[in-house]
Amino acid sequence: MARTISYREAINEALTQEMERDSSVIVMGEDNAGGAGGSGEQDAWGGVLGVTKGLYHKFPGRVLDTPISESAFIGAAIGAATRGQRPVAELMFIDFMGVCFDQIFNQAAKFRYMFGGKAVTPVVIRTMYGAGLNAAAQHSQSLYPLFTHIPGLKVVLPSNAYEAKGLMTQAVRDDDPVIFCEHKALYDTTADVPEDSYTIPFGEANVVRDGEDVTIVALGRMVHVAEEAAGELATSGISADVLDLRTTSPLDDETILESVASTGRLVVVDESNPRCNVATDVSALVAREAFSSLRAPIEMVTAPHTPVPFSDALEPLYIPDAQRVVNAVKTVMGGQNA
C-alpha cells in the first residue's frame, strides 16, 4: 500500500525494514542517535536532520553514535563490512569527505580488485549534499563527481521519496561500497511510497517524462528542476524526454543513448561545479557514442566554477534553475522556439 511520506521518512523506513530483515545491518554516525553520555534523552536527534530517528530504540546495540572522527568510523564501517556486517555509515555532509576520503577510495573501493576478487565490502555511506539551505561553502557542495570518478564505488542520488526508499533498500543489499547522496533540500518533500519493501536496481535511469525534441538528463534534486523546465517548454511546444539518472556509477549509458538517438539533442543538468563533473561525463559519452544522432551542440547546465556562496541573494543564482534549463534547451533547439 502506498502512502505519502517524506524523503526523510522513506530513507528511515528503508533502513528500518532492512534492519528488521537482516541483523547484520547496522547504522553509525555522529548523533545518529544522539545524546550519548548526556543527562537527557538518548536518540535525541536521530542524525542532524532526523533521518535515523527512532532506530536506536528499535534496534538495541545496532545504532552507534561516534566521536567526530570520520576516518576512524567510516573506516570502521568498511572494516566491519569485510567481516560480515552490513554497515550504513553517515558522513553527515558530503563536504566532510576530505577528512576521510582515503578510507573510502583507497580502502573500500579498491579491496576487491587489489585482493584479486576475494573481498566483499557491503558498506553504505549515506551523505547529505547540495545547496539551497544557505549553509555556505563548506556545507552545500555537490561532490558526487569525485566519487563517480573512483572505480569500485557505486554512487546513488535519489530524486524523491519513492526513489529514496527503493534505492536505499538496494544499497543496503548491494555487495559493493555505495555512496548514497541525499539532497538536503529534499528531506521534506513527499511522494507516494509503498509500505512494503522494494528495490530499485542500480544503473537503470528513470524516464520521468517522455518527449521527442530534446533529452534532458538530470540527477538528484536537478530532476525537479528539469521537470519544471520541461513543463514550461511544453507550453512553447517543445517536448522533452527527461531522464533521472538515479545512479552515476553505474551509469545507464543505454537509456541515455537511446533517448538521444531519438531526440538528437541533449541538455545535462547537474548541480555540481562544472569541471570534470557528471554533465561533462554524460556529454562526452554522447559525443562519442551518439554523435551521428546529434543535431545540435550539447548544452550543460551546472553550478558556476565557484564555491557555494552564503548570501540568500547569491545562492539562488548559483543553483541551476528551470529558467536556465529552458534557455539551454532553446539554445539546442537552434533558437527556433526561443
Partner: protein
C-alpha cells in the same frame, strides 16, 4: 604536565584593560543573545552557532594577542572574531548575507574572517583550524616576528585526527602555537564525557610532549593567566601548549536545537558561574571598577549591537555580478 591552575588575582591588568576585557565579553554576549532573538524571527539565513557562556575563553586568550598573532576558529566563531578585533558591524552584516559584510556576504556565520586582524576564519570543518595554525605559527617563527598562532577548537574536535596530528607537528617543529580546547560539554548532542576517551582533553598533551593545562572557563582570570603563560612561553621559543577550557554551552548546538539530550545544566551555570557575573563581582569587589562604569559599557555595547542589526538589515545584498568574482587572484 596536566594541571589545574588555581584561580589567579587580576594581576597585570589595569583598570583600562579590565574595562576592555569586560567590553569584549559583554559584546560577545550581547551579540549572541541578539542573534538568538533575530534568528527566531526568521530573518537570518543558514546555520548559526552561538558562543554565549564561553566568552571568557576567547577574551582571556585574545587579550594577549595583537595583529602579528593569528587565531583559527570554529563553526562557533563569533566570540573569537570579536575578541580578535573583527568589526562587529561587518560581522553582523555578514551573518545577514549582505554585501557590506566582513566577507561581502559570501561567507556567512561559519566563515567570518579578517586576515588583516590575524583572524583566519570561523571554520565549518570540525578540526579544520589546528593545521592552519601550525602554519601561521611557522610563519611567525621563520619571519621572527614573535607572533604566535592560537587554534580554538571544541571537545568534539579534539577527537578529529587533524587536531591530534597538529599537536604532534607543532611539538616536533617547536612552534609558537597554542591549542585551546574549548570543552563545553557537548559536540552537537553528544557529551564530551562520552566522546573523549580520557578524563580530560588536556591529558592528551603528554602524548605529544607538550604541557597540558586545565582551566575553569567561566573564570576570565584563570583563562587569562593560563593563556598568558602559554603565550609567553611560545613567544620565547618554548613551543606549544594545550589548554583545556571547561565550561558549558548556553544555547543549543545550533539555533533551533531542542536540546532534549540535556537537562537544565545551563540554568544553573547562568545563575552561579556565569563569566560575566563572576567578572563583575570580582572587579567591583576589589574596587577596581565600579558598577556604574560597567553599566555604561553595557549601554554602549547594546547600542552598538542595535546599530549593527539595524544597519545589517538595511544593507545592500550582493548581486549577480558578485557571484563569480574572487575565486582566484588571477585565472
Amino acid at each position: 604536565m596536566t594541571d589545574t591552575l588555581p584561580t589567579p588575582v587580576p594581576g597585570g591588568l589595569d583598570a583600562q584593560r579590565l574595562r576592555e576585557a569586560y567590553r569584549t565579553m559583554r559584546t560577545i554576549r550581547a551579540f549572541e543573545e541578539r542573534l538568538h532573538e533575530e534568528f527566531a524571527s526568521g530573518d537570518i539565513p543558514g546555520f548559526v552557532h552561538l558562543y554565549a557562556g564561553e566568552e571568557a575563553s576567547a577574551t582571556g586568550v585574545c587579550m594577549h594577542l595583537d595583529d602579528r598573532d593569528s587565531i583559527a576558529s570554529t563553526h562557533r566563531g563569533h566570540g573569537h572574531c570579536i575578541a580578535k578585533g573583527v568589526d562587529v558591524k561587518a560581522m553582523m552584516a555578514e551573518i545577514y548575507g549582505r554585501r557590506t559584510g566582513a566577507c561581502q556576504g559570501k561567507g556567512g556565520s561559519m566563515h567570518i574572517a579578517d586576515l588583516s586582524k590575524g583572524m583566519l576564519g570561523a571554520n565549518g570543518i570540525v578540526g579544520g583550524g589546528p593545521p592552519l595554525i601550525c602554519g601561521t605559527a611557522l610563519a611567525s617563527k621563520q619571519q621572527n616576528t614573535g607572533g604566535v598562532g592560537v587554534a580554538f577548537f571544541g571537545d568534539g574536535a579534539s577527537n578529529q585526527g587533524t587536531t591530534l596530528e597538529s599537536l604532534n607537528l607543532a611539538s616536533v617543529w617547536g612552534l609558537p602555537a597554542i591549542f585551546v580546547a574549548e570543552n563545553n560539554g557537548f559536540a552537537e548532542a553528544t557529551a564530551s564525557a562520552w566522546s573523549v576517551a580520557a578524563d580530560n582533553i588536556a591529558d592528551r598533551a603528554a602524548g605529544f610532549g607538550i604541557p597540558g593545562v586545565i582551566v575553569d572557563g567561566f573564570d576570565f582570570f584563570a583563562v587569562h593567566e593560563a593563556a598568558g603563560e602559554a603565550i609567553e612561553r611560545a613567544r620565547g621559543g618554548g613551543g606549544p601548549t594545550l589548554i583545556e577550557v571547561k565550561f558549558t554551552r548556553y544555547y543549543g548546538h545550533f539555533e533551533g536545537d531542542q536540546q532534549s539530550y540535556r537537562l537544565d545544566e545551563v540554568k544553573q551555570a547562568r545563575e552561579t558561574v556565569d563569566c560575566l557575573k563572576a567578572f563583575r563581582s570580582r572587579v567591583t569587589g576589589t574596587g577596581l571598577l565600579d558598577e556604574a562604569g560597567l553599566e555604561s559599557i553595557d549601554g554602549e555595547v547594546f547600542a552598538l549591537i542595535d546599530a549593527a542589526v539595524a544597519e545589517a538589515k538595511q544593507a545592500p545584498r550582493p548581486t549577480r555580478s558578485d557571484l563569480e568574482t574572487d575565486v582566484y587572484v588571477s585565472y
